[in-house]
Symmetry: C2
Subunit: 154 residues, 2 copies
């Protein structure tokens, strides 16, 4: 494991966008955004964040590591639930502040609510924002979050 | 157009996660993260941000609106390039701080560098972070960004 986590120096815009160096643009909190999609279906499973250590560990191990903003700690996906994610491919975006990983989930659901994906509700289009009523899509729980994580926060 | 942009009040965790009200969790800068995927291929095209107005306009018009953090302004995707995005579906995640939109792009590329997707480079796995050499994937430019946007920033 690299410690400290050395990435390429961020050079010019052209170097960042057209170069071969991994020079992530961590935000003020030291994080990049990570989108995890299901390697089989292509569906977005979750959006989370990675700090330098989580990014380095994911690259080095091929397993998804994140940084939990709510708990303010490094988080190996599946550490509690067993629902790890094997990364089949990682991409970085043009300005290198977002990562896309395609994953094979080891468990039934990526979402802490028990669903396969965190994106289990659709926002109907064409309505005024204040009159939106969300619609469940694949809303069924694939596992019991209380059994896996304990009692929920109130 | 709704003005001000009224969304549902953020209630308890259970209400936010299991309810039918759209109660986005805007961050300290007033933004939610938005992932845009290609409605046909499922590929992630870009990760951007929406403020309340961008989110409301996207819902109401079915066209993608974002908020540019670098320019600090509301941004109708395609306003300069003509490469608008028609939204075929919008999803919101469990804690309602991230939006996933499936889009039909009107133009050849979502990325300001001229590529179809912003995620045109892969990060090889299994290496130490400091020795990563990015690999281009679909790196060809679909349009000439200088012709569309003018001379790039240095």
């Amino acid at each position: 494991m690299s410690d400290p986590y050395r990435f390429a120096r961020r050079g010019s815009t052209a170097e960042v966008e057209e170069g071969l160096g991994l020079a992530p643009k961590f935000d003020a909190d030291g994080l990049v955004t990570c989108v995890a999609t299901d390697a089989a279906s292509g569906d977005v499973l979750m959006v989370a964040h990675m700090n330098a250590e989580a990014l380095a560990r994911t690259i080095e191990t091929g397993e998804a590591w994140y940084f939990s903003r709510s708990r303010q700690e490094l988080w190996r996906k599946g550490e509690t639930s067993g629902h790890t994610q094997r990364v089949t491919e990682m991409r970085i975006d043009c300005d290198q502040d977002a990562v896309w990983i395609k994953v094979e989930p080891a468990g039934p659901g990526a979402c802490h609510t028990g669903r396969r994906s965190c994106f289990y509700r659709a926002v109907p289009l064409g309505a005024r924002a204040e009159s939106v009523v969300l619609e469940f899509r694949e809303g069924e729980k694939r596992f019991d979050p209380t059994a896996v994580y304990g009692e929920p926060k109130k």
